[in-house]
Symmetry: none
Subunit: 185 residues, 4 copies
DNA sequence: CATGAATGAGCGTTCATTCAT
DNA sequence: TATGAATGAACGCTCATTCAT
């Protein structure tokens, strides 16, 4: 059930990420966000104590969201290959469908003043726990988490970010999955 | 008539990327850049017609620079495995040594208003030509350029960006190289 | 929520015309206007969306004001000669007493980027209606509105603008009135 | 014979008045004037010690020019009526044909910081001498110079300034001449 | 004489934030 | 809670002018 105020907060967050997708971090001023959300600038300060806090909060929330959204589809009994397939496709699809949130998180995570607010390992811990389980079973090759992130997350994000320009044909995704399966299993 | 002082221009560029590394895109105002470069704000407009043009120009220049710097060390007669090793280490080391430029490019390429100014394939074409040669010889597995970028560039950039926080131990880099060799050859 | 302070707005307008009288259009910067009005520069943008809009708005308002102020003293039952006398003296006196507004309007109406905002015939229509009535009665000589403006308005404005330097002795005004009566009746 | 440098100075003056006609006094910056004249900003300071001096000088020059241009056509032996006709039409035509200079002078003469540089009576002295001669002969009615200016100059300038918008049909000019003849003779 | 480079000061405007209701 | 008004500071940029050649 959505209360009216929940709507207001939600509209503020959506206005912010939408503006940031369209105009970059510089284009998202408090006044513009408020106008786009249909509230007064002062209202934003009812929910957040500063713009930085707002950015950090939403950055945190959206950083976790993609992984949380993915978990249900990664049931425990998948084969290694199917797990990789499901994860890569799920992560990619989610990023594409939530383009605004994805672009927002990508921008925040490169920004020196914001990146410290979110530690990647806190976001994808659920996923990594499952991979660790696979590794203990000998299904996944042993590999540091950092390498895993570099190989599993970075390429998918890259493809998702290229989609707007290149369209990322299905083959590239399949090709990537195939290579990752070869590499990780 | 006074002649242009290209040392001044260089200081402007360095001030800009340095500020952006420390404070993010929002922190790099024209006034701050000028102060840090030891010039007047107006001087910046002798060399660039707008802040956006300045960002785009330097973004373009630094985007190419890392690949150009790499080319000499990628001699034609390397084995496939050595090529991957040289490229990954070279790319990583360059990114770490030129931390400011690397962070600047990373931020720009995520910014919707700037990313269009630089097309990745225009930057790394020299590298890709060599890989295509390897592919024709059957040394590299056939693979689309997009997939190649996703697998070769994105993970290394990821590790380079994590270095500040995690320190990226040598093992992770070796591990990555090993996996990439398996995958691409 | 705070309510708009129309006294503040009035001070802004007065500061603007006062500055423009003293220093010309170039001398009236937003910052100076704000300082003189005792408000923040940003406050001006609560009431006007740009400096140009502010100039145009006040130009429009003050252009109408002098004619509106005159109407009451031009009662319908004046003889032709008395009408001319009352109009000329009234228009002159108003211009002299509201020196700042008068100078402001004179400057704006000569400025190519502002003059289009105000059409003279929209300002003095009340006056011209009365003259048309006189003309229908055969009291005023038939004459195009343009000629009427040239003969009735332009000379009075000229005298008003000369006053600061020459002091415009009373005789000149009487002389003018006398000639105009001869000409128009 | 025009030397190259004379051309340069002339181009600067023309660029200035042209810009001021198109964009108003605020739109005519030294840089824009220089660009439009095809010279360097610094070159302007070879001829004038400051922008204010440039404005004042050209204001003075162009203020005199219209009256000087008129004198030849006002031969001594004209009848009073013909003199008025020749003067009004000549003054009007000159203002229309030299639209840029006319608009420039009109703007300068209303500007508090510039108007002091030019005294009207210094410009039209030649004309007024002739009128004084007519007055001594009893052809022109006795009248103060101020009133004369108000009646002869102001209305014509008014019509000239309206021309751009209203087109000032010939009739208005004839009508004005007729009235002025009635009044002054 | 003539120039493009260089500048400190100032431009019009918007910023993130707080005030008063 | 929610608001439009209000703001000092800062924004990107241009100004009139001077410098060095």
């Amino acid at each position: 059930m959505r209360t009216r105020d929940y709507d207001k907060l939600e509209r503020i967050k959506e206005a912010m990420v939408s503006l940031i997708l369209r105009e970059g971090m510089n284009g998202a001023s408090v006044a513009k966000i408020a106008r786009e959300a249909g509230v007064s600038p002062a209202t934003i300060y009812v929910y957040y104590s500063s713009k930085e806090e707002m950015l950090a909060d939403v950055f945190r929330e959206y950083s976790h969201a993609s992984f949380h959204a993915l978990l249900p589809s990664l049931s425990q009994d998948l084969s290694g290959a199917d797990f990789i397939d499901a994860f890569v496709r799920g992560f990619f699809d989610y990023s594409v469908q939530n383009e605004e949130a994805f672009s927002f998180v990508e921008q925040c995570s490169r920004c020196p003043t914001l990146s410290a607010y979110v530690r990647e390992e806190d976001c994808c811990c659920g996923i990594f726990e499952r991979i660790h389980a696979y590794q203990h079973q000998g299904i996944f090759r042993p590999m540091s988490d950092l390498t895993l992130s570099a190989l599993l997350l970075a390429p998918v994000r890259f493809l998702a970010s290229q989609r707007a320009e290149c369209g990322v044909p299905e083959p590239a995704l399949s090709e990537l999955i195939e290579q990752l399966q070869k590499m990780l299993l």
